[in-house]
């Protein structure tokens, strides 16, 4: 008898919970108006930006011994936190494998994915994701042992074994590359980057293939980095950039323009040191960027100093690149990741 009562009571409790939850959902929908964003509200409420990063890729997103994250991808998360919450440190980082990253984003575990992720048509269109821009132009390459006698990709022969990560565009590019050259190969695909490095380092594979920036970064983790080299050829386009969920256009805009502001600030010569002084600049474009003119933040419900905070707390794109990628010796030369005014291809729409 008592057992039955307990059962009924617990059923009732569950049912009422479901009811309350669905009411809450409906109310939420009614309240949604133009300019309002569920993600922004949730972020402000929880007090931090939920950001998905890699499990450790020097220069892009990497945690030091005391758990501090650094990297150009991390700086995107910090920029968003500075814009929305006013403090670049208010970020909760979730390290994700290549396989987990999109599911984590679509399921709502994270709100921004800034994890050296290649922008492709199928990812953008298919799986409920929106790419907001490119923060690093990359391309896939190959690493080999210096003493292997392989000096270009033309030296690859039938039977070569290639270590790589699963679930990345790398796997697909590799197939396209070897098939187009009619070379039979053995793909050895691991779930984590560290496992790929360990296996390649042990001699399991003749070559290790991933994005060139990744190769440069992972080379530093080899037992003897000087024994390895990256082949000169690039076999694919890999525009890496931050990703958000589809369906929250305000949040999407905030992330997109957090990135754009960093690049635009470099273009106008605004950096973390001189940002405050730039408020009294003669150039209206600069004044808009540091918030002393115009109402740029209002469009997505932010105050007018959002971009100033990004520049002051995180720095412009050039500072971020120098700090994370150039000074650490990963890729001292900016290559395509130079401003369009300086011979690169970084070109963002104007912030006005």
């Amino acid at each position: 008898m008592f057992k039955n009562i307990k059962k009924i009571l617990s059923l009732l409790a569950v049912a009422s919970l479901v009811f309350v939850y669905s009411c809450d959902q409906m109310a939420g929908k009614k309240n949604q108006k133009k300019g309002a964003s569920k993600t922004v509200d949730a972020t402000k409420k929880s007090g931090f930006v939920k950001c998905g990063v890699s499990q450790g890729l020097p220069g892009f997103s990497n945690a030091d011994a005391s758990g501090n994250w650094t990297g150009v991808d991390v700086d995107i998360c910090r920029a968003v936190a500075a814009a929305v919450l006013g403090d670049a440190d208010k970020v909760k980082y979730t390290p994700l494998s290549a396989k987990e990253r999109f599911t984590a984003l679509t399921s709502g575990e994270i709100d921004v994915l800034s994890r050296n992720t290649t922008w492709t048509l199928s990812r953008d269109a298919d799986i409920g994701l929106t790419f907001v821009g490119v923060n690093f132009y990359d391309g896939q390459g190959f690493m080999v042992r210096k003493n292997s006698g392989i000096n270009t990709v033309d030296d690859f022969q039938n039977g070569i074994s290639a270590c790589t990560n699963i679930g990345t565009t790398t796997e697909l590019n590799m197939r396209d590359f070897f098939n187009s050259r009619n070379i039979s190969y053995e793909p050895v695909a691991f779930e984590k980057a560290d496992e790929v490095v360990a296996a390649y380092d042990a001699g399991r594979c003749d070559t290790y293939t991933t994005d060139k920036s990744g190769l440069a970064a992972q080379r530093t983790k080899m037992s003897n980095p000087d024994e390895h080299m990256v082949l000169p050829e690039t076999i694919s386009k890999e525009p890496l950039g931050p990703v958000v969920r589809q369906g929250d256009s305000v949040w999407e805009d905030i992330v997109r323009w957090s990135l754009n502001v960093m690049i635009e600030a470099e273009e106008y010569g605004i950096d973390s040191q001189n940002a405050d002084m730039m408020k009294s600049s003669d150039n209206p474009a600069i004044k808009r960027l540091v918030g002393s003119e115009g109402e740029l933040g209002a469009a997505f419900g932010l105050d007018n100093e959002w971009s100033l905070r990004i520049i002051k707390q995180v720095g412009n794109y050039g500072e971020s690149y120098k700090r994370n990628i150039a000074d650490t010796g990963i890729l001292p030369d900016r290559g395509p990741n130079e401003l369009w005014t300086k011979g690169g291809i970084l070109y963002v729409p104007p912030a006005r």
Binding site: A98, K99, F102, T103, T106, S107, G108, S122, R123, D126, I127, G128, L129, R145, N147, S148, G149, I150, D155, F156, Q157, N158, G159, I160, S161, C163, I166, G167, T168, E171, L172, M174, R175, N179, Y185, E186, P187, V188, A189, F190, E191, E195, A198, A199, A202, G203, R204, D206, R245, Q246, G247
Partner: protein, 351 residues
Amino acid sequence: MATRGIDFGYGFLTQESSFDVQFSLIEYSGSDSYARAYLVGLLNTLLVSILGIIFCTILGVIVGIARLSPNYLIRTTAAWYVEFFRNIPLLLQIFFWYYAALRALPLPQEADPMLGSFYLTIKGFYTPSLVWINLDIFIYSVIAAIVAIVFVRLYAKKLRENHGKHIPVLNISITILFILPLLTFFISGVSVTYELPVLKQLAKTSFIFEGGLSIPPELLSLVIALSLYTATFIAECVRAGIEGISKGQREAAASIGLNRKQILNLIIMPQALRIIIPPATNQYLNLTKNSSLAAAIAYPDLVLVFAGTALMQTGKAIEIVSITMLTYLTLSLLISLLMNWYNARIAIVEK
């Protein structure tokens, strides 16, 4: 899901997968469909599970009996083995056999041949392979031999029950199993040659073996790790089974004049099996499910190929994970079904 912008459907299964897999039991390339990639992963999972079950059973039975050995050295070694391997997490053991043991292996060009033309290298285990002519006739003859053996056993049973005569069933069976397939070599033109692995240079310091059979190190270390780990549990099942038979049974059997071998085969084992099978079934199920740890060392099993790469390329998380879960459920239920059937067969029939 609609609010999150996820569309649901299984249509992707017929799409081109466009990724390659390292190791496959069936013909597969990136131009095949995701459904075929699923099949590749499933077969690889089955392969490692079946190999694991076979080896862990052999090793487990040996160690289980060894633990009851009157010899102190054998008994203690077996006990140490069991305590050591079952108390270290399986994933660590897999990493050990892959990364630590792999590093110790030589590069192909430095490998010394074992037994003539077997090579154990960091890129895999290379053995000579057999090249068959008229393989199908040979296989039919093996099937015919098995059918013949079944009849012989039935006849022997009848003979034993009706006339009390014993015929050497085992010897007859083995003879049939050898003679019949052997005959096909002389009569129906079955022949077999072998192909040796040959070292091939890819670049100055990079070599592989071509020809012959190559077993990838991923499969090798996974089977070793799974077998060594699960064998400890099987060994305990076997020990429990044998110890579960009371001493009186052995003494009674001896008193009616059965010899040691007969006691083990006719009295102890049939009863012990009833105790061994149910827990051993659990271990087989565990082994099958544990084989999904393969993903950690790049063995292309169901989890790595389908719930890994295919999931990533399509983004169909719910569909793919549900298919994968259903597959493991089905596999496990099939194993239980098989073992339950076997268990029912050997159970005591109360008359």
